[in-house]
Structure formats: structure tokens, C-alpha cells
């Protein structure tokens, strides 16, 4: 199968129909065995790889619906100052721990009389960025290390990957808690801890993909035709590694939101009085005997966001046809 992959330049710019685009793609990823005849039929509908991904996404209504919900949550957090009915920091002694709908407080009030809905909207800003920022950082660092390890191989690979193995020896929650706890909590330290948790698995994904691509003949062909290492990595390796890395990163977002809220829940993430879903859950937990339903609300927000992110990530994976 690899005999033919060297004939075809890297996938950018090739215009073929959807089926052969997919076939080509799995060819580069070292997927199913294919024979050349399958690539041959003339194109009736002209479509590239990304166009076919988009096409599949457009016809996946489940993913679209959940993506819309994620977008809605992000927008709600972004425009919190415009939407929020109350000041999220405004305390009230008489209005403490009130049920849903009490004097215009749609979702009730917390133990200091602050409006839960407003805090939820503002809290989304912190919780969502705690979910996305560590994943972005880990993708950059881990992805880079993984590509270097996979492409250079040998001692460099051993050094990088064995170091990562050490961090694999910690359960993710434990590692996050240990680092954040040792550094003393706070938003920045929490993000740093989560970045350190996600870097090793990200590195492994990038390393595996790079090693697979590196073994294919078209890399050798590129080198034979005089391409520099930097050019090979830039044009031939990254294009094929980005898919798996992107999909893995998208699946990490929901994990990161869960872990970040968990850290805040333990008092290791966001510090009061900043509104954050995990922190709200932790302070409201003391009041489950007074207003049980109000206490469950922040966790529900975490749950819904996390489940939507997961389903969108699953949909993207199916559309991009990436096997992990």
C-alpha cells in the first residue's frame, strides 16, 4: 500500500471525490490496506479532505445541536455583564439561601444572598477558560515534544518519552491535586497543574502519529528530492499529526472542565469570592438541608457543559475519521 503513497504529494491541494479523499487519508495515516485501483475512479463531485469533513459535519444533526449548545454556553459567559440580572458579588443578609424564583432571583440565592444565576453566568467565564487554556498549552507543549520525539527517534525519543512515562504513573486527579496543592492553589497554579497533567498524554498521541507518518515512503521521497528537515516537518508531518492531536485535544476539554472545577471544589483552584462553578458547588454544599435544589445547580452546569463538549468531540472524531 505504501508503494503508491509516495507517488501522491501530501494531501493538500488534491481534488478528488469524497470516497477517494477518505481512502487517500487513511493511506497517509497508515490505515486500511488499499490498492491503487480504488483511488482511480474519476471525480464526479470534487471535494478535498476538509470539505468532506465539513460535509459530514453538516449532515450530523446530533453534533450540530450540541455544538450549538456549547456555543450558547460560551456566549452566555462572554456576555454575562449584559445578561446577568444581578451583581454577582452583591451580598444580602435578608436574602440568604432563598429558593428558585424568590424576588426575581430565578435560580435562588446562595449562602451570602448572592444571585445564583448571575454567579453562574460569570462563573462560566472562569470555568470555561480553566477548561480551554490548559488544553491549549498542553497541546502546544506536548504536541511539540511529541513531534520532536517521534521525528528524531533514538535517544531523544527515549529521553522525552520515558520522562513522560513518569507522569503517567500518577492518576490524573492525584497529579493535578498534588501540583496545585503544593503550589498553593489559585487560578494560575490550577491552570499550570492541569497543563502538566495533559502534556504527557498529548505528547504520546503526537509521538505515535509522527512515528507512523515518518515511516511512510513519501517522507523519504521528500528527503530524496532535497527537502530540509524543517520543511518535511512543516509540510508533511504536521499536516498528518494535526488531525489526531486536534481530536485528542477536543476530547480533553471536557476532562479539563471537570478537573478544574474539582480543584476549585477542593479549594485549590479559584479563590472566593470569584464566581466559579466548582467553588459555588463547594460552598453551597453546606446548605443542602436548606435549599437542596439550588445547591445542585452549579454542578448541573458543569455536567451539561462537559457532556456537550464530549459529544461534539465524538462528532468531530467521526467526521474527521481519526482512529485513536
Amino acid at each position: 500500500m505504501t508503494d503508491y503513497s509516495s507517488v501522491i504529494p501530501a494531501k493538500a491541494g488534491i481534488q478528488v471525490d469524497e470516497a477517494s479523499a477518505m481512502a487517500l487519508d487513511s493511506c497517509f495515516r497508515g490505515g486500511d490496506d488499499l490498492i491503487f485501483e480504488e483511488l482511480a475512479p474519476p471525480a464526479t463531485r470534487v471535494r478535498g479532505y476538509w470539505q468532506s469533513v465539513l460535509y459530514r459535519l453538516q449532515h450530523d444533526s446530533v453534533t450540530l445541536v450540541f455544538a450549538a449548545i456549547v456555543l450558547l454556553i460560551v456566549l452566555a459567559a462572554l456576555f454575562a455583564p449584559l445578561i446577568a440580572p444581578f451583581d454577582p458579588y452583591k451580598e444580602s443578609i435578608v436574602g440568604r439561601l432563598k429558593p428558585f424564583g424568590w424576588r426575581g432571583h430565578l435560580l435562588g440565592t446562595d449562602e451570602l444572598g448572592r444571585d445564583v444565576l448571575s454567579r453562574l453566568l460569570y462563573g462560566g467565564r472562569v470555568s470555561l477558560s480553566m477548561g480551554v487554556v490548559p488544553v491549549l498549552c498542553a497541546t502546544l507543549i506536548g504536541g511539540m515534544l511529541g513531534v520532536i520525539a517521534g521525528f528524531l527517534g533514538g535517544r531523544v525519543n527515549t529521553a522525552i518519552m520515558r520522562t513522560m512515562d513518569v507522569f503517567y504513573a500518577f492518576p490524573s486527579v492525584l497529579l493535578a491535586v498534588a501540583i496545585a496543592g503544593a503550589m498553593g492553589g489559585g487560578i494560575g497554579n490550577g491552570m499550570l497543574a492541569l497543563t502538566m497533567v495533559f502534556t504527557p498524554p498529548m505528547c504520546r498521541v503526537a509521538e505515535t502519529a509522527t512515528t507512523q507518518v515518518r515511516a511512510l515512503d513519501f517522507i523519504e521521497a521528500a528527503r530524496a528530492s532535497g527537502a530540509s528537515t524543517a520543511a518535511i516537518i512543516r509540510y508533511h508531518v504536521l499536516g498528518n499529526v494535526l488531525g489526531p492531536v486536534f481530536i485528542y485535544a477536543s476530547s480533553l476539554v471536557s476532562v479539563s472542565i471537570l478537573l478544574a472545577s474539582g480543584l476549585s471544589f477542593l479549594g485549590l483552584g479559584v479563590r472566593p469570592p470569584t464566581p466559579d462553578w466548582g467553588l459555588m458547588l463547594s460552598t453551597l454544599r453546606q446548605s443542602i438541608y436548606v435549599v437542596p435544589l439550588v445547591c445542585a445547580i452549579p454542578g448541573l452546569a458543569i455536567f451539561i457543559t462537559s457532556i456537550c463538549c464530549n459529544l461534539v468531540s465524538d462528532g468531530l472524531r467521526a467526521a474527521m475519521d481519526v482512529r485513536m
Binding site: 504513573a169 500518577f170 492525584l174 471537570l258
Partner: protein, 318 residues
Amino acid sequence: MGRYVLRRILYAIPIAFGVSVVCFSLVYLAPGDPLQTVLPPDATAETIAIVKHAYGFDKPLPMQFLIWLGRVLTGDFGVSIATRRPVFLEVTDALSNTALLAMFAAPIAFLTGYVMGVVAGCFPGRWLDRVVTGAAVMGVSLPNYWLGIVLVIVFAVELMLLPATGMGPSGSTGFHIYEWSSAKFLVLPVATLAMIPIGILSRTTRAAVAEVRNQDFVQTLHAKGLSEWAVIRHVLKNSLPTVMAVMGLQFGYLIGGSILVETVFTWPGSGFLLSKAIINRDVPVLQGTILTLSLVFVTTNLVVDLLQSLIDPRIRRG
């Protein structure tokens, strides 16, 4: 076989060493001097020097690490700053309580998740598969600390059927697993703890079963006239290595990652000990707990790898 086992065990040693390096350096991640918690704020320079010498902080870092490692290897984790008890005792007591939870949560989670995954994998695309896949996604996305709170609200606050937190009036010493008065404290934490592994396991099992079913040998089995049940038996056997690897990982998570659930239920386990140590800035307990938990995790992974090689000869040869 023997060579594989030996290689795998030898490979675990540098990992364990790396883990101890990370645990040791945790103290130095903390802002400020690690002695801050021990010393009164008005200590004179002379006192500081004496205490520094007593704790060995005046030696170079690699020396300090070797001394610490030597003590740890002999089971001496130091003394808790908060309770003055040996850290080793604190950790082993807590770990036995965590293991108690895991012992109940693991079989429940593994059995439920496995059965769900097999059912879904055998009927891909049908409604049963959709239900299981949906439930699995929910299980994976569930913040288990929140689930714990919800369960407490339903079963302890509203229905008043089960106790909300703790291990009973006499703590872990008076805990008898065969008596309902004690065992009822287990129900909610175990149910909470089991939920995430159920989701993850049913997802992986479904994927593994579906993948094996697509292999050529399954078609051959069908073609030579084997009954549906006999074919499924073959499929299950071939999907087992993947499933077992995930089970092992999840068991490790049940032990090492239970800090959130234990905090919700104030269950006196290792995770709860850890969160107390963080709040009190009790460095010896922090180091000891994290080191013990991660070594348990490494050992679990080792055992699973060895078991896997027993089932699947391909792993030994590769």
C-alpha cells in the same frame, strides 16, 4: 514468558524512581521556605539554622533526596505536623479505608460496564446500543463530586434512607462490614465512585467488541457454521486484553483518584487525608500520601500488564 515478566518488572523500577523524584520535589514547588510551617514567624536566625540542620535542609538537594529516599525505603515517612503520628501509620490507615470503597466499587463498575459494553457492541446501531452509548457518555462527563451531592440530597436529605457522610459514629475502628448499621455508610460513596468507571468501561468494551467483530476470523467462524453464542464467546475472548487494560487503569483511579468523592462524603480514606494535608500544609503527609498512592498505581499497572501477557501471547512476543 519469564523474560517478558523480568523486563516488565525491571522497567517499573526507573518509573518508581521517577515518581519518588516528583514527590520529593513537590515540597520545593511551594512558594517560600518549606520550613515556614514549622517555624514561628519570630524565630531568630540561630533557631532557623538549628531547625534547618535538624531537618537536613542545610545539605545540597541531591543529598537531601538520597537521605529522604533511604528513609522512605525503610518505611519511615516522617511524622505528621498536624497529628504528630508517624505518616506511615496515617497513610496505611487511610489507604485501607480507600481500598474498602474500591473493593466494592470495582466489581460493581466492571461487571455493569462490561455487560453494557458487550450488549452495545453486539448490536451496533440498534436502540440498545444507543441507550448504552448515551449512558456511557453521561457517565464519562459526570462530575462525580456533584453526583455525590445529588445522591446525598435524594437519599439522605429528602428520603432519609441512608447516612449522608462519614463512616459511622465510631469511625473506621468500629466499622463492621457485615452489619447494616455500618455497611449503609458505604452505599452512597460506592455508587458515586462506580459511575465513571462504568461509563469508561462500557465505552471501551463496546469499541473493542465492535472492532473484533469486524475482523475476518469472525466471518470465518460464521461461515463454518458456529452458533451465534459460540461466535460471541470467541469475540469476547479476543476483546478481553483491551478491556482488562482499561479495568486495571480504572482500578488504579479508584484508589488514587478518589480524593473528590472522599471529600464529598468525608470518608476517612487516603484522598481525604491528602486534602486535609493540603489545607494544613502538612508536607510529610502530603509527600507520603502521594508517593504511596502513585506507587499503588504503578504496581496495579504492572500487575495488569503481566496478567495481560498471560491471556494474550502476542504481547509477550512483541
